[in-house]
């Protein structure tokens, strides 16, 4: 199957081999890292005419999702980036797309996102005396995983198993005359990398609010 030209262009400019995309008729959604939004828009502008349509924000539990919707070559293209609530900071795109200012101000006021480079700070929607630390549409940090499932989810995403791979378990295997490591994915770097990529492609890690660097959920 031929690669979509917009996906190919962004893949090349962002040096990304496997961009996650959804195609629904003429509507294309591309998932990007927050830091990739500005270079992605710059790449699209350099390739041809782009019309800014809208910027929408949505509370996704652990992240605030920003959806930049553009018209590119008579197609509706949405660049979607998840902004971790712990950071809540992203580069403004108004230098490239001045019309995005209203959307950025709305997301800043209602969801508490800081757009670096958005200099005009007057309120757009909220009263002037609204406290800056209480964005009304922002919920406390949470994820899709209900309390009883959090431990199995953390075990699965950390070790690709339902139970923790403890040193004492491996020692008991050895004592029983078995190979110290069972043939599970976490015992082999390449298999584990494949498993992690598969989980990421389901989007579950994002929905669940899993922090791959800390190897645990971002909430208790």
């Amino acid at each position: 199957m031929a690669i979509d030209p917009i996906v190919a262009l962004l893949g090349q400019r962002l040096s990304r081999e496997n961009l996650r995309t959804e195609l629904d008729g003429r509507r294309l959604t591309i998932e990007l890292e927050a830091t990739e939004i500005v270079p992605a828009i710059a790449a699209l502008l350099a390739a041809g005419p782009v019309r800014f349509v809208t910027l929408a924000a949505m509370d996704a539990g652990g992240d605030i999702d920003l959806l930049y919707t553009l018209e590119v070559d008579r197609r509706l293209v949405t660049l979607r980036a998840a902004i971790a609530k712990e950071a809540s900071r992203v580069q403004s795109v108004i230098d490239l797309l001045p019309a995005a200012e209203m959307g950025e101000k709305e997301a800043a006021e209602l969801f508490g996102i800081e757009f670096v480079g958005l200099t005009r700070q007057e309120k757009l929607i909220l009263p002037d005396n609204w406290p800056a630390d209480k964005p009304p549409l922002r919920q406390p940090l949470t994820g899709d995983v209900f309390p009883q499932a959090r431990l199995p989810v953390e075990n699965l995403l950390r070790d690709a198993t339902s139970v923790r791979v403890a040193p004492s378990s491996l020692a008991r295997r050895e004592a029983a005359g078995l190979p110290k490591q069972p043939a599970i994915a976490s015992a082999d770097a390449q298999s584990m990398q494949e498993f992690v990529e598969l989980v990421k492609r389901t989007g579950f890690d994002r929905r669940a609010g899993y922090d791959w660097s800390k190897r645990k959920l971002r909430y208790k």
Binding site: N18, D144, V145, F146, Q148, A149, P152, V153, N155, L156, A160, T161, S162, V163, R164, V165, A166, S169, R172, R173, A175, A176, G177, L178, P182, A183, I184, A185, D188, Q190, S191, E194, F195, E197, L198, V199, R201, T202, G203, F204, R207, A208
Partner: protein, 291 residues
């Protein structure tokens, strides 16, 4: 016929290595050439994760099935939960076009595909249908002449394609008897052990599931309980010690996996199972009865 591959799951290799030792011994004694599935992951766990997400469990199962298919292998599954996860994912991929398209895309993204060519069998089915009771009986060196009770485990009733849900439980019973043991029934064999409820409310699981089951065994002459699911075995072995604290004075009974029973009946030294690492009555049973 494809090669046979053991799907060990997580709980057996990491919590009950003696069951893995027994499995390898039994299949070797029966001259069945089995290899392990390399690079596999959790099946994944069928109850909690199935509620937590719709796509992830099927995608994870599909990757495991893809590993087997790439190796030209069929799966012999040693755990009820793993069997259910893999078999249900297989059925979902077969019947749900939208899910199949989604999961195929996810697999393709990691360079994999699954074409539905893997036969997934619970080890009970394999031993009963492929090996046969007669060949098992001929392999015995020390038939386990004792009275035992059976716990099936809920996921053993899971069938795809409309088959009789009591098919595998009946096979389980006949395999226990083929090992030389005498089955005694309490009448509560089909009741859940309470393991999934433990994750929500442990006292309730012990009071309303494990407790009644263990109490009912008092009317039998059972010397041990036989399992084919490591999660159920774990629930009984660890949970029985807590029943007294809840005012339930029953048991405890030694907990033995069917593969351990068969291995012992086929002449494996009891010490090779390392039952000294197990809990309560199982440990004592090993010391008093087999040693």
């Amino acid at each position: 016929m494809n090669r046979q591959t053991l799907f060990l799951g997580c709980v057996i290799p990491l919590r009950f290595p003696g069951i893995e030792v027994a499995a390898r011994f039994v299949f070797r004694e029966l001259q069945i050439d089995c290899v392990e599935l390399e690079g596999y992951s959790c099946c994944p766990e069928p109850v909690v994760l199935g509620i937590a997400d719709h796509v992830l469990p099927v995608a994870v199962s599909a990757r495991n099935l893809s590993l087997a298919e790439q190796a030209g292998a069929d799966l012999i599954v040693l755990c009820n939960g793993c069997f259910e996860s893999l078999a249900e994912a297989e059925a979902a991929l077969r019947h749900d076009d939208r899910l199949r398209t989604s999961v195929s895309g996810i697999l393709a993204g990691v360079g994999r595909r699954y074409d539905g060519k893997v036969l997934i069998r619970h080890f009970i089915e394999f031993l009963y249908e492929e090996v046969g009771l007669e060949r098992i009986r001929r392999s015995l060196k020390a038939p386990m002449e004792m009275a035992v009770a059976v716990h099936y485990g809920c996921h053993l009733f899971r069938e795809t394609g409309g088959a009789d849900t009591l098919r595998k439980p009946q096979m389980f019973r006949e395999l226990i008897e083929a090992a030389g043991a005498r089955l005694v029934d309490s009448g509560l064999e089909q009741l859940c052990c309470g393991f999934p409820i433990t994750q929500l409310d442990k006292p309730q699981a012990l009071r309303e599931r494990l407790g009644p089951k263990v109490r009912a065994l008092g009317s039998t002459q059972a010397e041990a309980l036989i399992f084919c699911c490591p999660a159920c075995l774990n629930q009984f072995e660890s949970g029985q010690g807590e029943l007294k604290g809840l005012g339930i004075d029953a048991g405890p009974y030694p907990c033995v996996h069917l593969l351990e029973l068969l291995a012992l009946a086929m002449g494996m030294k009891p010490s090779a199972l390392h039952l000294e690492n197990r809990l309560g009555a199982t440990k004592e049973f090993a010391e008093c009865f087999w040693e």
